[in-house]
């Protein structure tokens, strides 16, 4: 059977070669979890680029649900010997073991040829793709969590000014409540709650504290009185979000877009939703990077991995896609739709809106942090998510109780 297959492939290849000497068209299945309106529009740019600029075809393998649903499916397919052509993952420690087990395609040769090390800014993104000096993934965008999205109309309806930082936002909470609005929209999934916690941590506790806990795994810092302030602020946020019963993040963003909620703490991918809804930054909505307190952004993001494949044609197509994803045009087209920042410092984002410009400025000033995905294992991340999700839904849990368990998780983190 195998022989027959090989002969068939060889003859087809020879036939195609004799007609024209172009590279062979290959279907590349690409899995990702970009399914909301803005995300789907962005990923379509990748598909368009692959279909138009190469002979290969993009087979879209979107997996609904958040990364938490999609990642297990992606990983079990790779482990189970049914690798896709390429897949989205958050780079950093999620794919660490897959790389170590030799299941991912080594991209070092194109990375060196195209000089990715000089192109990618900040270079920490490429470092997260690198294991033992070899490059295994392509960073495609920079996403930062540290944003508070505010509905200008909701605050106008409540008769208060649009706040300029988190503390003003908390003060405006009661007024919003009286106007029949939910002050803070929050989707009830662990990763959203935990993401918002990280943002409040950096805003209220400062970037140094965040770094001590998440990078150095300093359990004493996690148990410190400064950190208790963060948990207190988080408990305030819990109070402000009472009545926000949606699940998905884009449903929560929609509450802000439709002015039912005052604001949402969410990463810059929320921007894509505002864009799809036709809202204008500065007029219809306001964004506060770092909650307006500490203007720092974390530079995590999405990356594409290319699982190893026995078929040399697919490997060739994978490499073509890898270099395409980093090309200038594709970077601009994709990131404008996605609301994220490009990973290249040398592209021109003329079409960027107000909020993206703020982000680019912070990036250019170098006020950046690594992201949680880059420094914490999925094991630690999900323990933290479970704890914070429980805290968020159980009003009887005090900040002190949560902090004690949090410090415990950090003490055991590796």
């Amino acid at each position: 059977m195998d022989h027959l297959k090989k002969i068939l492939i060889a003859t087809t290849a020879a036939g195609a070669m004799s007609i024209s000497s172009v590279t062979l068209a290959t279907e590349l299945e690409v899995t990702h979890w970009w399914t909301s309106g803005g995300e789907a529009a962005a990923v379509a740019e990748f598909a368009k680029a692959l279909n138009e600029k190469t002979d290969h075809t993009w087979v879209d393998g979107a997996i609904a649900g958040s990364g938490g649903t999609a990642r297990p499916i992606i990983i079990s397919r790779i482990l189970g010997g049914d690798p896709m052509g390429a897949t989205q993952l958050n780079h950093g420690r999620q794919a660490e073991e897959l790389v170590e087990a030799g299941l991912m395609l080594d991209l070092t040769d194109i990375a060196e040829e195209e000089n990715w090390r000089d192109l990618v800014h900040p270079v920490s993104l490429l470092d997260s793709c690198t294991v033992d000096g070899r490059v295994y993934c392509v960073p495609v965008n920079i996403h930062s969590w540290q944003w508070l999205w505010l509905s200008n109309k909701a605050f106008a309806d409540a008769g208060v000014d649009v706040p300029s930082d988190w503390f003003e936002f908390v003060e405006a909470g009661p007024a919003l409540g009286e106007a029949g609005k939910i002050p803070l929209a929050m989707g009830q999934q662990g990763w959203q709650v935990s993401g918002a916690f990280g943002v409040i941590n950096i805003a209220v506790g400062g970037p140094e504290l965040w770094q001590k806990i998440n990078v150095d795994k300093d359990a004493e810092a996690a148990a410190s009185p400064e950190m208790l302030k963060v948990f207190d602020a988080f408990a305030q946020a819990r109070l402000l979000s009472q009545g926000s019963n949606v699940q998905d993040w884009n449903q929560a963003t929609n509450m802000v877009i439709t002015d039912q909620a005052g604001g949402q703490i969410m990463g810059d991918w929320a921007q894509g939703e505002f864009q799809v809804a036709g809202e204008v930054a500065g007029e219809d909505y306001t964004c506060l990077p770092g909650l307006g307190v500490n203007e720092v952004i974390s530079t995590g993001g999405d990356a594409f991995y290319f699982p190893k494949n026995d078929d040399p044609e697919i490997t060739a197509a994978q490499k073509e896609l890898a270099s395409l994803l980093l090309s200038k045009e594709v970077q601009v087209a994709f990131n404008l739709k996605k609301g994220s920042l490009p990973v290249r410092g040398d592209v021109d984002l003329e079409a960027a809106n107000d909020c993206m410009r703020k982000g680019l400025q912070i990036l250019a000033d170098g006020n950046i942090l690594v992201s949680g995905d880059q420094v914490l294992t999925p094991d630690t991340t999900s323990q933290v998510e479970d704890l914070l999700a429980e805290f968020w839904s159980d009003n009887s849990m005090t900040p002190e109780m949560a902090q004690e368990r949090y410090a415990n998780i950090i003490a055991n983190a590796d």
Binding site: G68, P378, D379, S382, W392, S393, D394
Partner: protein, 298 residues
């Protein structure tokens, strides 16, 4: 004498024994073999990929100090007792009512059995909507004029597991009813005649004569319900995804999430070994009573 009969006994029915070999091999390799593999790896610190670095009982210590696991066990207990009691009681009541030689029995039976044809995912989603305070039962009752009516089990961490239980019962009770109905139909009509002659009330006949006679049927129903309880997973995933917070988590979901979301196989294996252990604790005494007793007694 004994020595002479033994080899014959092994060779007796040789064809049947050879035919059963593939099944026996499958059972040994897949069930027993994989179970042992899992248990062995639960003592290692395997992360995304299995590896044999033993860490003793560390995974179990962590498991039993994890609040999410403890909540899962508690939920399983509530869900288990609830579905055991209510499926059997409601199932039997429905079966007894259907057995009164009523009209349109087929139609009624089909309607009650229908939810069983739906997967747990569909059941979970349907009940998520029905129990959603903004457009489900609460909304309907409020629009009838009861403004302060509150019914939002899926958004209340204290009672969310009962919201899941309702959906589970809606899905499974019809099937239990059909099983019990077939048991009722198996009871000889003469028994009913005899009890009527003796003037025994109907409910007493059911309770003291018919139910004891239906023991095998009840055992079947019990096994089906218990298996459903322990593997409950998809219903929770579809209906609440473990929320709000972690209030409706169940052990099977803990296993899956540890293995794939946290990329911590060791922890997931430890949890699944505990699940196996709990099944064995229930199963072994029962099997001993059911099968062991018969061999000795008869």
């Amino acid at each position: 004498m004994a020595g002479a009969t033994k080899p014959v006994r092994i060779l007796r029915n040789l064809n049947a024994k050879i035919a059963a070999l593939p099944m026996i091999t499958t059972a040994l390799v897949i069930f027993v073999g994989c179970t042992i593999w899992t248990i062995v790896h639960s003592f290692t610190n395997s992360r995304l990929l299995p590896k044999l670095e033993f860490v003793g009982f560390a995974q179990y210590e962590r498991l039993w100090s994890t609040r999410r696991w403890l909540i899962s066990i508690e939920n399983l207990a509530y869900f288990g007792i609830g579905s055991l009691v209510f499926s059997l009681v409601i199932g039997f009541l429905l079966a007894a009512l259907l057995d009164q030689k009523i009209r349109f029995e087929n139609t009624v039976r089909t309607i009650i059995l229908y939810p069983f044809a739906l997967s747990f995912i569909v059941t979970g989603l349907v009940w998520q909507w029905i129990l959603n305070p903004e457009f489900g039962i609460q909304h309907i009752v409020r629009s009838l004029g009861f403004e302060n009516f509150v019914f939002d089990p899926l958004y209340n961490p204290d009672i969310v597991i009962f919201g899941v239980l309702i959906a589970g019962l809606w899905q499974g009770t019809g099937f239990i009813m059909v099983i019990l109905l077939s048991g009722l139909r198996g009871i000889d009509g003469e028994i009913w005649k005899a009890s009527r002659i003796d003037g025994i009330p109907k409910w007493k006949t059911y309770l003291f004569v018919v139910i004891p006679m239906m023991r095998p049927t009840f055992v079947t129903a019990l096994v089906i319900i218990t298996a459903g309880i322990i593997k409950v997973y998809d219903l929770v995933v579809a209906q609440t995804n473990g929320g709000p917070g972690i209030a409706s988590e169940v052990p099977a979901k803990y296993v899956y999430d540890s293995m794939f979301r946290s990329q911590n196989l060791g922890q997931g294996f430890a949890a699944s070994t505990m699940m196996l252990l709990s099944v064995l604790i229930v199963l072994i005494p029962w099997a001993y009573l059911e099968f062991g007793g018969r061999k000795n007694g008869k």
